[in-house]
Amino acid sequence: MTTTIVRAFRRAAVPLVSYYVVTLGLPLANGAAGAGAPFARHALAVLVVPPILIALGCATHLLLEWSHRARN
């Protein structure tokens, strides 16, 4: 199971990095950190939600795989 999760994160690494660069890297480079709490709230959501989505996708994939195996 751990291998599947690691593989999923590796596979999604390029889209994840692209997303982080544009949503966090560029605003930070432009001084968005000075905005304080609103940017911190945005940054927290942007940091946390994509890994959760990857984990959820992985869990769904594993569940489907198990149910397929159980049927056969």
Partner: protein
Amino acid sequence: MKSRLFLLGAASLTAWGLKRHYADASPDDLLWILSPTAWLVGVTTGATFAFEPGEGYLSREHLFLIEKSCAGINFMIAAFGMLVYARFHRTGSAMTAARVLGVSLVAAYLTAVVVNAVRIALALWLAAHPLAASAFSAADVHRFEGICVYFGGLVLLYELVRWFDHELVGRPFQGRHAL
């Protein structure tokens, strides 16, 4: 090596140019991306959007404005960078580099229009069906929806490139899975 340097330089310049254009542009300057997006949202949801100069595309019946910040330019830049990176190792000549640059730009534009239209259509639906007794504010829900759709769009686009390489071109994917 020279062609890869050319690709890197040209891609960085293109991304910077897009960002610069977006920073200085009014909604009227962004019609090239706002118009097809508003049209696609209208087709999929049945909502009617009319252009308001200096504002964007407004749906009076839904009280919904597709404005500058809804243009999806940041997503387009992320998709463009990702596509160039996925093809970077395939670049062997100046001609291939130019082709990678052109195809990535067009694909990023088309994906941005489609993914952004999906995001706005979902936002329209969520605005019409607010989550009762939710612990989250409307702004939180909108932010969460935006992250899911944009990140999901990038993952799907990357998977599409991988599928294209494996199934259609018949070559193993040479872009790196991880950085």
